[in-house]
């Protein structure tokens, strides 16, 4: 069967809508039917929610469904599953794993989280110390993970753990799918700078994971994790935004509506940031045009850097613009939101939350290294952990 073109996709979408009218079909039922019709992510293989069609044709389906008021799968709520777990399962999973996990993931019946970072392994992720020891058909996992968004609502987790401490750090890691309801998995809220607990610590004590939930070969977990991390960076900053669509929007609105707050200094800074936000928007648009034209450029690695800096500077300006109001904060109550919300709440929240933008998903410093070494071809820094067994590293 050949992959459908735009007209074919439009026809298939209309057939789906005719067979399952959104007005009379339950949300989950509709989403399941959409998955089974291959219209979930059209570039995925047939039978796994797709039709092997070009990724650039997804908007054709989305536009038809939006026009018919069809429910979506709440992509923000299941972002880690969609953006990171799914591409990794697709690339490295067995047929059985793909059949078991992809459908409930996409439909949103099962939320995923990511057990990667540890207290001692953030930017140097490959230094991680969580151990997985083979015991018959199972692996027994012990360790601690941190910065885990959605862990308190997740059914499944992608997990990397050390399976061989006697080889250099990148080579002794394996990649697993962890059942968050298993005994030995304990999720504790981690209260942050904003007062909220949007992230968690996850303690793993004697957690048994069957070998059938390993992704990729033993000892090649780092390679598998690269797929996850690459997709993570692509999904941050990859969305299409209208002019004033980001953090600059609320500040510009405040400026227009409240002339009494205006000063000359703030005006100059606002305009500089407005221009930079507009240029970042255009750079993102150019990146998407390159992808559509089949000439992907390395600009993606830079977009997250740009957005992190802009979000921080703009939200900082916004707090100052508000003057006396900027001295206040909406609410310090510890809450555990289901969603990561960068732009929600007030200016003080945005200012504090955006401090994480240059840390999460790869620090700006690590990303600058990546750009310098992989894009510009600058020499790597000398390092002393390359050929040393993980157990012999200083910790």
């Amino acid at each position: 069967m050949t992959a459908p073109d735009a007209a074919g996709l439009r026809r298939l979408t209309r057939e789906l809508l005719a067979a399952h009218p959104p007005a009379t079909t339950g949300r989950t039922d509709f989403l399941r039917a959409r998955f089974d019709a291959g219209l979930a992510w059209v570039h995925y293989p047939a039978g796994l929610g797709g039709l092997d069609a070009p990724r650039s044709l997804q908007p054709v389906v989305d536009a038809e469904l939006a026009a018919a008021n069809a429910p979506d799968n709440d992509p923000r709520r299941i972002g880690i599953g969609l953006g990171m777990a799914a591409p990794t399962v697709l690339a490295y999973g067995t047929d059985e794993q793909k059949r078991r996990f992809l459908r409930p993931l996409w439909v949103g019946e099962e939320v995923w989280c990511q057990l990667f970072s540890e207290p001692g392994a953030g930017s140097d992720l490959a230094a991680l110390g969580t151990r997985a020891v083979r015991d018959g058909e199972d692996w027994v996992v012990d360790g601690q993970k941190v910065w885990t968004s959605s862990a308190h609502v997740a059914r499944w987790a992608i997990l990397i753990a050390r399976t061989d401490p006697d080889v250099p750090k990148h080579r002794g890691i394996s990649y697993f799918i962890c059942d968050m309801t298993d005994p030995g998995v304990e999720v504790r809220p981690l209260r942050q700078i904003t007062g909220e607990a949007e992230f968690n610590e996850v303690f793993l004590t004697g957690v048994r994971i069957p070998d059938s939930r390993r992704l990729g070969p033993v000892g090649e977990g780092w390679k598998v994790a690269q797929t996850t991390l690459m997709n993570e960076r692509v999904s941050i900053g990859g969305a299409r935004v209208p002019r004033e669509g980001g953090m600059i929007g609320p500040v510009a609105r405040t400026w227009r509506e409240r002339p009494e707050l205006r000063t000359h200094d703030l005006h100059q800074r606002l305009l500089t940031l407005w221009v930079e936000a507009e240029v970042a928007r255009l750079t993102g648009a150019r990146l998407r045009q390159q992808l559509v034209a089949g000439q992907p450029g390395p600009e993606g690695s830079g977009m997250k850097l740009a957005f992190a800096r802009l979000n921080q500077e703009i939200s900082g300006l916004e707090v100052e613009l508000l003057g006396n109001e900027g001295l206040l904060y909406s609410d310090w109550t510890m809450r555990r939101p289901e969603l990561v919300d960068f732009t929600g709440r007030d200016a003080g929240y945005r200012y504090l939350r955006s401090k994480g933008n240059s840390i999460e998903g790869g620090t700006s410093e690590v990303l600058l290294n990546i750009v310098a070494e992989r894009v510009l071809g600058l020499p790597v820094e000398p390092r002393n952990d390359k050929d040393v067994a993980w157990k012999d590293l200083t910790r």
Partner: protein, 372 residues
């Protein structure tokens, strides 16, 4: 094209195949005839412009007539193509009156609307590069000030970019726009010592000169504004090419230069500065392409796109040139290394056709973000 249809009014920010071919032709000409030692030697001679290079670029490649419709002897291309030429000229800091004559003066003449008689004749001469015309408006201006010169063609103007190379001066007066032969009686073009060695400046003094009136005052004012808008818009591409050269050469140098028994480019403090610069160059490309595309399509977004590009790209070019000098260490401070040519051009460009601050004021006006 796909992107344009899919995203509706979003400008096409990529380069077409034809544009890449044009770039290759210009670059190969410049590699042969205009390397850095030749540019330095030219700037120290009495004739900063190489007439043979200009002929090859303007007529041989047909670059001078890109904006001019075929019926007036041009190529009938547009601002996107001209922007690619400007980008390459910026990359080699070429001393050539391209931006001033083939873009600003040409665009002004085209915007007069009445393209017959002397206007059509002059356009044809500019399109083939046989003549060079410059707008007699200070290089720093975003707006003409027609009151500087009286209708009797009396007055002093400056600094005018590329006036020394011009055959024809386009002079806005209270009466309208005049075409004045640079060699005519009553015209004095006095060279100035310019910060940017590669784009000569001069004062123009008119004392009862004679010229041809091309259009009335109202038409002229709008046309000159349009010429300056195109100049500012495509200057962003010059700044992009310039910044890209600075980054590429700095990366090359820091990979080769060893200190402390390591390539200096392996030190993180330097790597991060170059990576940051790369991000700025990538962003400048999106801004510059956006300005070129809106100019080409006549989009109502053009004034904002140009103001955004200028407010952003001039800063990037200066930053790239300053980093280039610094990261080259001692050699970056010498006359023999071309870094200084780029710094001087970048700094002068940051004033040309309006400073970043002036363009930010335009942004404020167009986005309704008024000053206190």
């Amino acid at each position: 094209m796909t992107a344009r249809t899919e995203e509706g009014q979003v400008p096409d920010l990529l380069y077409s195949e034809a544009e890449e071919d044009l770039r290759a032709a210009v670059r190969s000409l410049l590699d042969d005839r205009c390397d850095a030692p030749q540019v330095i030697a030219r700037t120290e001679s009495a004739t900063p412009y190489d007439p043979r290079l200009w002929k090859a670029l303007a007529a041989g490649i047909g670059a001078a007539g890109l904006l001019v419709p075929e019926k007036f002897g041009g190529q009938g291309a547009g601002h996107r193509e001209a922007a690619v030429v400007v980008e390459e000229l910026g990359r080699s800091v070429v001393p050539a009156p391209y931006l001033t004559s083939s873009v600003v003066a040409t665009e002004t003449l085209l915007a007069l609307g009445t393209q017959d008689g002397p206007v059509a004749a002059l356009l044809a001469e500019l399109a083939t590069g046989r003549k060079v015309a410059v707008l007699a408006v200070p290089f720093s201006a975003v707006e003409p000030d027609p009151s500087t010169v009286t209708a009797a063609l009396d007055g002093m103007l400056g600094p005018i970019a590329d006036a020394a190379a011009a055959d024809v001066l386009l002079v806005p007066t209270t009466d309208g726009l005049y075409a004045v032969e640079a060699a005519a009686a009553g015209v004095a073009v006095e060279p100035l010592v310019a910060l940017d060695l590669t784009r000569p400046l001069a004062t123009v003094t008119l004392t009862g000169a004679t010229g041809t009136l091309l259009a009335d005052a109202g038409t002229s004012l709008a046309a000159v504004r349009r010429g300056l808008l195109a100049g500012a818009g495509l200057l962003a591409s010059e700044q992009l090419g310039l910044a890209e050269w600075c980054l590429t050469e700095t990366v090359r140098h820091t990979r080769e230069r060893h200190q402390f028994n390591r390539p200096v480019g392996s030190f993180q403090s330097l790597k991060h500065r170059m990576a940051q610069l790369w991000l700025e160059v990538v962003s400048a490309r999106a801004a510059a392409r956006n300005a070129a595309d809106t100019l080409a399509t006549g989009s109502p977004e053009t004034p904002l796109a140009v103001a955004v590009a200028q407010a952003y790209c001039s800063k990037v070019a200066v930053h790239a040139a300053e980093e280039c000098v610094q990261l080259h260490g001692g050699i970056g401070m010498t006359w023999e290394h071309p870094a200084h040519l780029y710094l001087k051009r970048a700094k002068a460009d940051s004033i040309a056709y309006g400073t970043a601050g002036r363009h930010r004021a335009t942004v404020a006006e167009l986005t309704e973000l008024p000053a206190p």
